[in-house]
Amino acid sequence: MADEKKSGIEADVESLEKGVFTGEEGGDERSSPRKDFIASVTVAALGIFAMILSVRLGNPESIYTAPGVLPFITGACLVVMAIGLFLKTKRRYGLDEMLAGDSLRAAGNYLSDPEARRTLALMGVIFAYVMILGQTDLDWRFKTAFYAFRFSGFELISIPFIFFILRFFWRSTLLNCFLVATGIVVFLAVVFRDGFQILLPGAG
């Protein structure tokens, strides 16, 4: 995957040499005809859904001030754009290439890529982190003559999760991962809570 990142930079260099405009966020090198087909269908469905919901919003006074006016227009525009994306991809690659292959195999191919598996694992871990932190309500305080030490749900949940992510991706020793996770979480908590007087999630 480092190669892919490198190739992203190389693509930028190439476009620069050719004087081709790739836009502020780069070109569409990550996309494929099949992905564009799926995107056009999804966007069209989203547009139609938005139009239906907009009509259901009703019309409290004049049609001109109806709450669904711009949402309806936006939904309609999305449908038109989805058709535009479909036609553009069809013209560029052909319908056969857009519909080629089956979704199950594509999903299988995606999952066979180690980087994709790592990404999904990371999403899962972050999801668990966000969910558990949201359910935590803890605020321990140890007052000393000089400083009131606090240990909240933020530290309690963040330290093990960051430790786990570090261990999985950084692959350093257990002690190193633990020290870095603890150090950075405590540092951030102190900076936000004591330095900038900002409350932290997890009742901190």
């Binding site: 995957m1 480092a2 990142k5 930079i9 930028d12 260099v13 476009s15 620069l16 040499e17 405009f21 790739t22 836009g23 502020e24 966020e25 780069g26 070109g27 569409d28 990550r30 996309s31 992905k35 799926i38 995107a39 966007v43 938005a50 919003l57 409290p60 004049s62 001109y64 001030t65 109806a66 709450p67 669904g68 006016v69 949402p71 936006t74 754009m81 989805a82 535009g84 994306l85 553009k88 994709a116 790592r118 990404t119 990371l122 999403m123 999801f127 982190y129 966000v130 933020f154 963040s158 960051i162 570090l166 991706f169 950084w170 951030l188 900038f196 007087q197 900002i198 409350l199 999630p201």
Partner: protein, 496 residues
């Protein structure tokens, strides 16, 4: 006379030691952040909004301006020393600077980049100061119809500029953002829209968690699973900002500065477009003997790119402050920070927040000077940072995303929103959709919605011809919007 007094009053605030210290921290964080490959300017801006929550209005503005100025330059350090651009706009600097570093001229290349950035910021600031009164005067003539059209043009042009040869993807991203912006109670009748009976959605979707999710969490999901070895830095040598050498490139610098500022003022076009375009123009306009050096280590090329991407900072502030339309995703973060501190941006900025514009000018100037000195001071520590793997740095950003999203309104729902935005951003990225138009549309959506409905009410008994003939600014804007779509569909589509 009144304005001079206001300038002096704002300068007195800006030059307080505490303000300068906060700006210094912002610049330092920005340079370090920008220098780390994979950590972009927008990411820095999005995540550090959370840190500015607890600051007072002026302190927060100073801090964010420091981060913005510092992070745009920071990308040049890793570009020259390890041949990996810290930020995407540093790719031209990487091509030229690393070639020079391999010849043992890394210090001189970085010195040129520092001076170029310093000059670029100055040009951006001067043009910002020069054009703000004119744009504000024009903006004050805008009524509901014009504001609606302007918002739609902002989203359309942002889509075009973000997505390269597939502007339709940029527009789709923007229009999805518009739909997101409609979630919540409608501003005129108080009707819940797209809330599906969920009470918390009635407050609407705040764009700050969205910004953090799209530009923070998405980046983590993109970069962390890639195993990449840390870069091996080239020898820096003595860092010499070559004043005499740069005098020879004055013309290039001025041209690049103007290009960078203009690009910055166009919504959606940021430092990447500015540096790429300026580099391309510079190569075409270079003298034959100098042109031979381009791609193999040209100082003029570094000046072209660095002046443009830093002038972009001032340029991006122009529509942000005068029209409330961010010049790019990083400027959207500045806008968020300003709004969070109750600064009303847009045509009435001077009447509703007297003096704030002068404070921003002075803040940018201070940040520029601090950037110059800190850049020289931080290059050697940065070299040490490059030996840290991304797999160590990226996980540490995850709690910052969570804290930043929560800090804005102390509502954990925003953290869930940030997470969903991060996942959605990753999927959109995989499908080749740019993210900046979505954020811009979420910001501009309520403005567009309210103004369209007001305008339609005003136009209730009017003919189409009346609207076209009696509202010339609106008509000009209609032509501009249509041209933006035409340009995206027909002209750029043909190059694909």
């Amino acid at each position: 006379m009144f304005e001079l007094q206001e300038v002096i009053a704002q300068a007195a605030i800006a030059f307080q030691p505490w303000m300068i210290f906060v700006c210094l921290i912002g610049v330092t964080l920005g340079i370090l952040w920008g220098a780390m490959p994979g950590l972009s300017t927008t990411m820095a801006m999005a995540l550090l909004i959370g840190l500015s929550v607890g600051m007072s209005q002026h302190v927060a503005i100073m801090f964010m301006l420091g981060v913005y100025t510092g992070s745009v330059f920071g990308g040049a350090i890793s570009a020259v020393l390890i041949n990996i651009p810290g930020t995407p706009d540093a790719v031209p600097t990487m091509i030229e600077g690393h070639a020079l570093a391999k010849r043992g001229e890394g210090g001189l290349a970085l010195g040129t980049a520092i001076m170029g950035s310093f000059m670029g910021n100055w040009i951006g600031i001067i043009l910002l100061i020069a054009f703000i009164p004119a744009i504000l005067f024009l903006a004050l003539q805008f009524r509901s119809w014009e504001m609606f059209l302007l918002s739609m043009w902002g989203i359309a042009i942002c889509g075009s500029m973000s997505a390269g040869d597939m502007p339709i993807k940029g527009w789709i991203s923007g229009w999805i953002g518009l739909l997101i912006s409609f979630v919540g109670l409608d501003a005129i009748h108080g009707v819940p829209r797209f809330t599906f009976g969920v009470r918390i959605l009635e407050d609407g979707i705040s764009y700050i968690p969205l910004l953090i999710g799209l530009f923070g969490l998405t980046e983590i999901l993109k970069v962390l699973p890639q195993y990449s070895p840390p870069g091996i830095p080239s020898e820096v040598g003595k860092i010499v900002p070559p004043m005499k050498k740069l005098i020879g490139y004055t013309r290039t610098a001025v041209r690049s500065g103007i290009v960078g500022t203009i690009i910055g003022a166009i919504p959606g076009a940021g430092a990447n477009v500015a540096s790429f375009l300026s580099y391309d123009i510079g190569r075409r306009r270079a003298k034959p003997e100098e042109r031979k050096k381009w791609g193999k280590g040209s100082y003029e090329a570094i000046v072209s790119a660095e002046v443009a991407n830093n002038a972009n900072v001032g340029g991006s502030m122009l529509p942000t402050l005068t029209l409330g339309i961010p010049g790019n995703a990083a400027a959207a973060a500045i806008l968020a920070a300003l709004e969070m501190k109750n600064v009303v941006v847009g045509p009435t900025i001077q009447t509703e927040n007297p003096g704030i514009i002068f404070f921003i000018y002075i803040g940018l100037i201070i940040a520029n000077f601090l950037m110059y000195f800190m850049a020289i001071a931080l290059i050697k520590p940065c070299v040490k940072l490059f030996s840290l793997p991304r797999t160590l740095l990226m996980p540490l950003i995850i709690p910052i995303c969570v804290m930043g999203a929560f800090a804005v309104s102390l509502n954990y729902f925003d953290v869930y929103l940030m997470f969903i935005a991060g996942i959605a951003g990753y999927i959109l990225h995989r499908f080749g959709f740019p993210l900046a138009p979505m954020v811009l549309a979420v910001i501009l959506g309520p403005l567009a919605d309210e103004n369209l409905r007001r305008a339609l009410l005003v136009f209730e008994d009017r003919t189409f011809w009346w609207i076209i003939s009696e509202r010339p600014i609106g008509t000009i804007l209609i032509v501009i919007v249509l041209y933006t779509f035409y340009d995206g569909i027909f002209r750029r589509g043909k190059t694909a």
